[in-house]
């Protein structure tokens, strides 16, 4: 029987427990690799997080993504770059089915996440979005919630009540987001009381709290000052030993700094994909060369 992605109550363990109804079996999420041993498992680096096959996305009659084939490596940072309107954000949102929230959106083609079809009819989009977390351009902490409540809202909505577990997860998530030391003494203050850069890191902590396997980031620094941007970039660098990160950015310099691989989109099509060093130093496609050298965009 093929494993399916199905809604299930949260478990204290990162390992999924079999559902009481044995007609469906929740897949076991991949165990979080120990960074200390990642080097001894080179095949983990070569794994594919997303296998995008002939993806087309439409908003009504407008085709936003055209026949994209792309394999995004696991446990690394992949940047998606391109001029405004090229389909970067649409491509990103398709990876966790967020584009479906737009009225009139539809797609053809497949997106496999570690071999599982995200768009299979039995797949619950909400669970997909838990496994594939997202951070948006404008930080959006819930305005009526405290810092701690913001981080834990996903867990609580899924029925988690154990205080010890929640407190531990709160600290872990804020530490992973490099925010713990700045907020640990006032976790009950409103999330909106933080600076812009801190709010964005709070949103990252919120996304990490539910232990996604993959983190999508849609221009996460575009509203931040250079220092806050640097802190988020340092965070991305630290996260890539444990997470697959896909980041959309219109800042080519940021893509060059943070990513191992870069995909260049133009007018809905994937023009070139490759190691970031090669894309920026010696692109193969003339359109890529023109874009990264600032000759159009």
């Amino acid at each position: 029987m093929n494993p399916v992605i199905t809604r299930k109550p949260f478990s204290m363990s990162d390992q999924a427990k079999p559902a009481a109804d044995s007609s469906t079996v929740a897949p076991t999420p991949a165990p979080r690799p120990n960074p200390a041993t990642t080097a001894s498992t080179p095949t983990a680096k070569a794994e594919v997080a997303f296998d995008i096959q002939d993806l087309c996305v439409f908003y009504g009659k407008t085709q936003a993504i055209k026949n994209v084939h792309l394999q995004i490596p696991a446990m690394s940072v992949t940047a998606i770059i391109g001029p405004s309107g090229c389909g970067k954000s649409t491509a990103l949102r398709a990876l966790n089915r967020m584009h479906e929230l737009t009225p009139g959106a539809r797609h053809t083609g497949k997106i496999l996440m570690k071999g599982e079809d995200l768009y299979a009819s039995h797949v619950d989009a909400t669970v997909v979005r838990r496994r594939v977390g997202m951070v948006f351009q404008k930080s959006n902490p819930f305005p009526t919630l405290s810092i701690a409540e913001n981080v834990l809202v996903g867990l609580r909505l899924n029925g988690m009540r154990d205080k010890t577990f929640l407190n531990n997860r709160l600290e872990e998530s804020l530490r992973m987001a490099a925010l713990w030391d700045e907020v640990k003494d006032h976790l009950n203050r409103p999330g909106m009381s933080l600076s812009g850069g801190q709010q964005q890191r709070l949103c990252i902590a919120r996304a990490l709290a539910v232990r996604p396997e993959i983190l999508l980031m849609d221009e996460p620094c575009s509203a931040l000052d250079p220092i806050a941007t640097a802190k988020v970039e340092e965070l991305i660098h630290a996260l890539k030993s444990q997470y697959t990160v896909v980041i959309v950015t219109h800042n080519m310099q940021q893509a060059a700094r943070v990513s191992e691989n870069t995909a260049f989109f133009y007018m809905g099509s994937l023009i070139e994909f490759g190691p970031t060093e090669q894309i920026f130093m010696n692109p193969k496609n003339p359109q890529t060369e023109a874009y990264v050298s600032g000759r159009f965009g």
Partner: protein, 224 residues
């Protein structure tokens, strides 16, 4: 705030310092081969040149990569331009040392050289210039770097004196002109090594102060 990629700058500095050490070793060994007639040392110089060439390629690649991926500013971008230029100067110094070593091997076949004139003194000065230029880079001392170009005139004067002396010798003893010709070229190589050291020191001043001091002091050009 130190960024995760700043360690790449440290790696670049280390490689440049290593290249400086190899170039200095190369010049020192070449002079030793010349003055002691030990042709086996000449072989060591030639082997060092291969390592220097590899370092040149590595350093240039590191600089281009860092400029492309990290968009350095201020002193960091100056470090990139200085590293690429100093890289080239050190590689050329290594080539000059190799040339001296090869000529030393040829001279050994002709028999003992009876008069090196200013060549030993030029060798000492060229090595001192190279060491001081590299030291000023390591210690980030622009004042020390500024002293290097001011001593270049002495090397140029010694080279011109050598040229005159060996020219006279060729006129008086044409039968040993081959020896004199090799020594003229060796003298020129040492003068070029001192020039490369001067150029490196000027780059260090640019790195530390952002001031381009090239061509701002008077350096008598060699007649050759």
């Amino acid at each position: 705030m130190k960024r995760y990629f700043h360690s790449e700058l440290e790696d670049l500095r280390k490689h440049l310092i290593l290249m400086g050490e190899r170039s200095i070793d190369s010049v020192r060994l070449a002079m030793q081969a010349l003055l002691t007639d030990d042709v086996s040392i000449a072989g060591q110089v030639i082997a060092l040149d291969d390592e220097i060439d590899r370092l040149e390629v590595l350093i240039d690649a590191e600089c281009v990569r860092y400029i492309t991926l990290r968009q350095p500013m201020a002193q960091d971008v100056r470090l990139m331009t200085v590293a690429m230029k100093a890289n080239h100067e050190l590689e050329r110094s290594g080539d000059e040392a190799t040339s001296i070593a090869k000529r030393a091997r040829r001279l050994a076949e002709f028999g003992k050289v009876d008069d090196f004139y200013n060549i030993p003194r030029m060798g000492d000065l060229a090595l001192e210039q190279l060491r001081d230029a590299m030291d000023s880079f390591i210690t980030e001392d622009a004042e020390k770097a500024m002293l290097v170009p001011r001593r270049d005139k002495e090397v140029d004067d010694l080279n011109r004196d050598n040229y005159a002396k060996y020219n006279d010798k060729i006129s008086l003893h044409p039968e040993i002109s081959r020896v004199s010709i090799e020594l003229i070229f060796i003298s020129k190589s040492l003068e070029r090594i001192a020039d490369h050291a001067t150029n490196i020191a000027e780059e260090v001043v640019f790195l530390m102060k952002g001031e381009d001091v090239r061509h701002t002091h008077e350096v008598k050009r060699s007649v050759m």
